[in-house]
């Protein structure tokens, strides 16, 4: 294939990625968009296979078959609650692949005894560092989400300082390799090892509920790593696709940080939630909570005209989304309206809650973003909070001493009646008391969310 044709076909593939991502912007066209982007990928793969440099196909065929089978198996076996882990793992693989391509390019120069000119040296070191950090960082994020590792931040004294030293050492090795222009093994091995170590160090101090930011950021890194690899092998489609993915991750991490009213620096280096029972925040001593039985609440629900459900990650953990839909269907059959208020950080990754509810066949047009539904709570007869905590804590509005002060929250306390489903009075991720539980119009429904919902369903049916 002539070089110009190769270039044109890579361009076609890049354009298909752009159209595909654009079409992912609306629920009606999203599936088609994903398919278009897939066609772009297929074209890129076919063009690469036809590249004049490619002479042997045995290893390629074996690798592609193994990778495709493992990928498809994973895609169809994964539970929707485990989506964050899956995306984390795939991010890691993408980053790892980019790192390996960078490393192979280094070996090629090393074995041929060729020099590495400074521009190539710079981008090669970057692809190794970013790829390595993405690989191990994603694996740690995966282990935390999969609960193979404690979700709490892992901290040790002078953590940020020692991380900084590792980072500077990595840069020093990169500088050494770049400045010699001759491929040297010691800085190469050292740099790879330190980049992999750095990925681990950067993610271990970050707590479970901050994972939405971390996954978005690692997603971005995997794109930038691919882009850097594109610089190394001088391939435009890698650069364009990598930059597109890189920007998507950056935007999503920014949205997530805004939704928690925290800076990216605070999420990455603050070890938020490491100390349980922090000082500050309102003391709830002397106040009591009221609890309600499913029987009593069912009567209220059966005659409610407008119900808003606030789902949190606790609902997903209890696997209660199907019961939620069943209850909503019953209320709607009796003439009520049911809406869902989704906080941006309700799940373990951006938009996670929407996918979980979609899986339970809840139509996406019933799901409302926080800002769109917050004004509706005042005329809501019943608000049902299932497994959410910090995102409905009114302290975020007025208590300047609260660690979550300033975080945008869902106005669950504005409803005529608010019922919170919860296992116990344990605190949420921020480790603080929730004022909502003690409010005059709030009742607690203690117990496993799934069982409580089943009781509610049975009672509403009879009401």
């Amino acid at each position: 294939m002539p070089v110009w044709l190769t270039q044109i076909l890579y361009l076609v593939s890049a354009v298909l990625f752009i159209i595909g991502i654009k079409r992912l912007g609306s629920p009606a066209t999203a599936r088609q968009g994903n398919a278009i982007s897939g066609v772009g990928m297929l074209i890129a793969i076919l063009v690469a296979l036809a590249d004049h440099a490619v002479v042997s196909y045995g290893v390629i065929a074996a690798g592609m078959v193994v990778g495709t089978l493992l990928g498809l198996w994973q895609a169809y076996a994964v539970k929707m609650t485990a989506m964050p882990q899956m995306v984390a793992l795939l991010n890691g693989f993408g980053g790892g692949a980019s790192m390996i391509v960078g490393a192979a390019e280094f070996y090629r120069a090393f074995e041929a005894g060729a020099d590495i000119p400074t521009p190539t040296g710079v981008v090669m070191q970057l692809s190794l560092i970013i790829g390595g950090v993405t690989l191990t960082g994603s694996l740690v994020a995966f282990a935390k989400l999969q609960e193979w590792m404690p979700g709490k931040p892992l901290t040790f004294p002078a953590q940020n300082a020692s991380n900084l030293i590792v980072f500077l050492a990595t840069l020093a090795l990169a500088g050494w390799q770049i400045s010699t222009e001759v491929p040297l093994l010691p800085p190469f091995y050292g740099l790879c090892a330190l980049a992999l170590l750095l990925g681990v160090l950067l993610v271990i101090p970050i707590g479970g509920a901050d994972m939405p930011v971390v996954i978005s950021l690692l997603n971005s890194y995997s794109g930038i790593a691919a882009g850097m690899t594109g610089f190394v092998i001088d391939n435009e489609v890698l650069i364009i696709a990598g930059a597109l993915v890189g920007s998507s991750g950056i935007i999503l991490s920014r949205i997530m940080c805004k939704a928690m009213n925290r800076s990216l620096t605070n999420v990455l280096f603050g070890a938020f939630g490491a100390t349980a029972g922090r000082s500050g925040g309102t003391s709830m001593a002397g106040l009591t909570v009221k609890s309600i039985t499913p029987e009593d609440f069912a009567v209220q629900l059966a005659y409610a005209r407008k119900v808003i459900i606030v789902p949190g990650y606790g609902m997903a953990v209890a696997q209660a989304q199907h019961q939620v839909r069943e209850l909503a269907d019953l209320i709607e059959k009796r003439g009520g309206v049911v809406k869902y208020a989704i906080h941006p950080v309700a799940g373990r990754m951006p938009g996670h809650m929407n996918v979980l509810l979609a899986e339970a066949n809840i139509p996406y047009d019933r799901l409302y973003e926080m800002d769109d539904i917050n004004s509706e709570f005042d005329d809501t007869d019943a608000c049902l909070v299932i497994g959410a905590n910090d995102v409905v804590n009114p302290a975020a509005r007025h208590d300047k001493n609260s660690p979550i002060f300033g975080m945008p929250i869902i106005n669950a306390d504005h409803a005529k009646m608010t019922v919170v489903m919860k296992r116990s009075m344990a605190t949420g991720f921020a480790g603080i008391e929730n004022e909502l539980f003690y409010a005059p119009r709030t009742w607690m429904l203690f117990g496993d969310a799934k069982q409580s919902l089943q009781k509610l369903i049975a009672e509403v049916k009879q009401a």
């Binding site: 912007g25 599936r31 139509p363």
Partner: protein, 99 residues
């Protein structure tokens, strides 16, 4: 890579980043998870590099590394597109909107 080629690549990278920001800024929050896994699949484009490395007969180290890179990138590609499609298949609008 010459300095000129590097600058050209930086130009492409920068413009694509701005394009990405424009494209993704318009995606509603309800689609953020499929967007992430879809974007994740696109980052598997590094497969192109892996294929060229593995197929070029550059000695056993490069071939071996290329094989591992192909497996990883291909999992990213196949898994990413398949799971995104699976998720998007679940998104349905309400019955009153169907006609």
């Amino acid at each position: 890579m010459t300095t000129e080629a590097l600058i050209m690549a930086i130009v492409i990278f920068t413009l694509s980043t701005f394009l990405g920001v424009e494209l993704i800024g318009r995606v509603p929050p309800t689609l953020h998870t499929p967007l992430m896994s879809g974007a994740n699949a696109v980052s598997g484009i590094t497969i192109v590099g892996a294929l060229i490395i593995a197929g070029s007969d550059l000695g056993w180290i490069s071939t071996y590394l290329g094989f591992v890179a192909i497996v990883l990138a291909m999992m990213n590609v196949a898994g990413g597109y398949a799971v995104t499609d699976r998720m998007l298949g679940m998104f349905k609008s309400g019955p009153e909107e169907k006609r």
